[in-house]
Amino acid sequence: MELWGMPFSTSLAFVVLALTIIVAIGWTIFQSKKDENHE
């Protein structure tokens, strides 16, 4: 996998960044639902 001509070892950094943001969004939505149900 190459992003913008960068080798895999460097491109992977962008994948990790994207996954972090996706997990953060998912976690926030999950916690909101959980807190709503709790209330």
């Binding site: 001509g5 960068m6 080798p7 460097t10 950094a13 960044l17 953060a24």
Partner: protein
């Protein structure tokens, strides 16, 4: 010359805004807790963006650009792990527990937390001294970044730039306290983000896109685009850990968790800090690609300011310039407020048992802010190293001292005061001696934190708690 006056005009507007915030928030700080923690009532947006501003100071913009220029694209990993560990996981794992425990224990600073959590006053005195001494070194690295930016963009003397930026921060911190720090930090994060995004867009236009500029960098040397590239795994991983995990033990960052309003603000703040922090990769990326336009910059800390000066239109230069100044000032001000809290609240009134009225506490905190600021400016006059190297040194010492007793103190109720004592003193000594003697090419942060971790558990096992005194 005209361009310089445009920058000066925008800078003056910005400075006036900061001082006004200092004066307005200063009127709200009637008690010591309001001066030092803003009354524990700060919302998600302001808490998380001021966290980002304090984290990604001029150190990341100027120093990160410099490291990117020196070592290439592998440094993007520093920015990415900063977002993962330093923003997302830090908020996820530390924020809620810290907020709850510090309120329960009535702790207003990290040293105060150590004393109340472990019931051992020595921990408070020791950690306050380490925090104040080594945060001054961190201040020096921030001021160097500010001075360098003034030097390149305005073409004025480094020392004059240092004095102007240092003076403005001192004024608004002195008047406004913590509330001024978080509110200016919030505005500074927005300016910093806008400056970085604008710079990225213009740089990509001028460089012909990311793919082309990466290809040109690869043609200069393959090591500049590979990971770990010319830096090697040892250096890269050490720095990633210091500036990503190290933040978990940095008092000026952790303070955002005591002062955040409630759990809803923490949940939203986690997401905002993660997304806002993502901009931290831009300085590393552009720092590396600057080499394709300017192949031989002697002082690598000047890489990004040189790029900005060379490719940005005048208003863009002003925006970036103010963004960098904002980034440095937000961190510098956070450090000043933490240092004065440590000296006045933790050392003077609590450790030395000197009684002060609420009013005098605020007055003395203001005086201490000025003194620490002036000492930092004097050392930064002739700084002893690169911006990111100085930062890594001070973070390594503070994190080796505070990180383990803080993080595990939130979760492990069986930790004993002797375990915390051994962890704190052992981590501090190993990190300091390692960086002085340099026995192996690994940064002192790693052996420091490992020692602190091992001694914390060994000490708590050998000298266990006689009775449980706290519900976590």
């Amino acid at each position: 010359m005209n361009n310089v006056w445009i920058h000066v005009f925008f800078l003056a507007l910005y400075f006036i805004g900061l001082i006004l915030i200092g004066i307005v928030t200063g009127r709200k700080a009637k008690t010591s807790e309001e001066y030092h923690l803003g009354g524990r009532n700060i919302g998600a947006l302001v808490s998380s963006l001021s966290f980002v501003a304090a984290y990604f100071s001029s150190v990341v913009i100027i120093g990160g650009g410099g490291f990117g220029y020196k070592y290439g694209l592998s440094t993007i990993w520093i920015g990415v792990v900063n977002v993962l560990m330093g923003c997302f996981l830090a908020w996820l794992i530390l924020a809620k527990r810290t907020r709850r425990l510090t309120e329960k224990l009535q702790a207003i600073s990290l040293p105060d937390f150590f004393q109340k959590r472990y019931q051992y006053p020595f921990l408070k005195s020791f950690s306050s001294i380490v925090i104040v001494l080594f945060l001054i070194i961190y201040n020096v690295s921030i001021l160097k970044g500010l001075g360098n930016t003034f030097e390149v963009i305005l073409g004025i003397d480094y020392t004059l730039g240092l004095l102007i930026s240092g003076f403005i921060v001192l004024v608004y911190v002195m008047f406004g306290g913590y509330l001024a720090v978080v509110w200016t930090g919030f505005i500074q994060a927005i300016l910093m983000g806008a400056g970085l995004i604008y710079l990225f867009v213009v740089a990509m236009q001028k460089m012909g896109g990311l793919t082309q500029s990466v290809a040109r960098l690869q043609a200069i040397q393959t090591g500049f685009v590979e990971t770990p590239g010319i830096w090697g795994y040892s250096g890269l991983i050490s720095y990633i850990l210091i500036v990503s995990l190290g933040v978990w033990g940095m008092p000026q960052m952790v303070a955002r968790f005591y002062s955040v309003k409630d759990n809803t603000a923490i949940r939203r703040g986690t997401l905002i800090a993660t997304i806002g922090g993502s901009l931290a990769i831009i300085p590393y990326l552009l720092g590396a690609l600057t080499r394709t336009i300017y192949p031989s910059i002697a002082d690598v800390d000047l890489a990004l300011p040189t790029l900005v000066n060379g490719i940005m239109p005048v208003f863009g230069i002003s925006l970036f310039f103010i963004g960098v100044i904002a980034a440095g000032m937000s961190t510098f001000s956070s450090i000043l407020i933490i240092s004065s809290t440590s000296l006045i609240k933790d050392l003077w009134t609590d450790s030395f048992h000197k009684k002060l009225t609420e009013k005098n506490e605020i007055v003395y905190s203001r005086i201490i802010n000025v003194l620490i600021g002036v000492v930092s400016i004097i050392i930064a006059w002739n700084p002893p190293g690169l911006v990111l190297t100085l930062t890594a040194f001070s973070w390594a010492i503070i994190a080796s001292t505070c990180l383990v007793p803080y993080v595990f103190g939130l979760y492990w109720s069986k930790a004993s005061k002797k375990g915390a004592f051994l962890s704190m003193v052992g981590g501090f000594l190993v990190a300091l001696l390692w960086m002085i003697l340099k026995p192996f090419p690994v940064h002192g942060f790693i052996p420091g934190v490992i020692t602190s971790f091992v001694l914390y558990f060994v000490g708590s096992w050998m000298f266990p708690l006689k009775e449980k005194f706290i519900d976590l």
